[in-house]
Symmetry: C2
Subunit: 276 residues, 2 copies
């Protein structure tokens, strides 16, 4: 079969966007379409232009024998503001407030479109950090961790608070929960992480930061390096945290259980995009 340029472009767009951060050898397309390398390179040039001008991401081409093309999802400042705005608006809905001043967020975490959009924002911030694994804590962080890992093309490791026989040998640390001051345990299967792995920690909610401090300690046991921490929502009402280097998509402040009100602000992630 002879493919026209228009047909090749449809195929290549679908192929590349389904494999973000994966080096695709040019020969994949040369062989598939039975075309000269120069025609395929011209196809990729068109793709690259559209991807960059439409803010879909970067198309990186690598020359040489082991060369090829990589799709790197990356969003613009405008798009980041739009995502943060949309998320903050959803988060502001009055009926989220639960007894105890907690926020109901399962619908947001369970919405694959929302997770997908926010993961685009997170990978843009951490794309150059050479991340090997996304680490999260069961259970609400898992959807975001997977959405992020999908775009980074790395695996997800899930830390649990209970020991399951299906994990094999595990490493555990005890930590003090920042909000309840209770001692809790965190467990990760030994074979989930390689020594020296560079990890991005992703979670749904950052209160006092006890659990994330626990994750950082657990990562030390694995000789892994935490190169970033990113959370969906942080509580602004808490001032002292053990660690301060993290990004957030939104902040929740002034939770007033009695009057059933709370405020939502953009998270600190926009600082990254404002820097340019």
């Amino acid at each position: 079969m002879k493919y026209k340029r228009s047909e090749r472009l449809v195929f290549m767009t679908e192929y590349l966007t389904r494999r973000p951060n994966d080096l695709i050898p040019l020969t994949t397309f040369v062989n598939k379409f039975n075309q000269a390398k120069s025609s395929i390179s011209e196809d990729i040039r068109i793709l690259k232009e559209v991807f960059e001008s439409e803010g879909i991401g970067l198309i990186q081409t690598t020359a040489g024998a082991s060369g090829g093309v990589t799709f790197i999802p990356r969003i613009s400042k405008g798009k980041a503001e739009q995502i943060v705005g949309h998320f903050s608006e959803e988060l502001s809905k009055q009926n989220r407030l639960l007894p105890g001043g907690y926020l109901y967020m399962s619908d947001l975490v369970g919405n694959t479109r929302v997770m997908d959009e926010i993961s685009g924002l997170i990978v843009t911030m951490y794309e150059d950090k050479k991340i090997d694994t996304v680490v999260t804590i069961a259970t609400k962080g898992i959807p975001l961790a997977h959405a992020v890992a999908r775009k980074l093309n790395v695996p997800v490791a899930v830390i649990r608070k209970d020991n399951k026989i299906t994990e094999g040998s595990t490493v555990s640390v005890n930590y003090v929960s920042g909000s309840t001051r209770k001692i809790e345990t965190m467990i990760l299967a030994k074979r989930t992480l390689e020594d020296g792995a560079r990890v991005l920690v992703v979670d749904d909610f950052l209160r006092a930061g006890g659990s994330i401090s626990g994750v950082i300690r657990l990562m030390e046991e694995f000789q892994a390096e935490v190169v970033g921490v990113s959370v969906l929502v942080e509580s602004k009402d808490i001032v002292d945290r053990v660690f301060t280097d993290y990004t957030s998509i939104a902040k929740v402040a002034n939770i007033d259980e009695y009057n059933e009100t709370f405020d939502v602000e953009p998270g600190n992630c926009l600082e990254f995009f404002n820097k340019g």
Copy 2:
């Protein structure tokens, strides 16, 4: 800016594949590109041909004022066999066997590419079931549930075994675990599911089926209808299950803890693709 057909096709391919099962009005593209409807329709015809001949999925066009175009991910029999083969091969690795005859699968569940491929297989089987929500049980089912929900364009509801304050009001049922014969509890936040919802239940491992029977009972409390059950792996060594209507990607049989051996076979999902 004037877009050429090749550029429009790149944009439209990325736009549609990122929004599976979403009706996109033709006017979205007509306005974006400032082109006549006839040109856009011709673009879509090209896209449709490539998607169908390459087994990417269907492009459905709906006529009329509220008309538009929908990308429906659907894989072929050949692709399904390839996915099942690849997954079975990964699953066969000797070092998965844990004490107690359990299989280590966290690496597969944590691999976003594997989850993405398998979700394509699952949505092809359940695409015509008008699913409103994908339901799973924490924690290992969550990645597959999200991958499936992303392609169906529906939310995910996660059933937990512990009560968390962040869930608000919940509904719970007790059930007897098929393997341990212990009484356990399952909990789902009340506002996660609407009355009468049609749900697809997704999980990682099916042993005796106690937990999935629990899910079915819990769904009755929500007046929800279970229109399908799909699992990553089923244990073939178990003969009597409370329910028999489910699909699986792979089967594990003859687990021999002493000799550290087990067999892997394709799951029953291929029967769907063999029917045509």
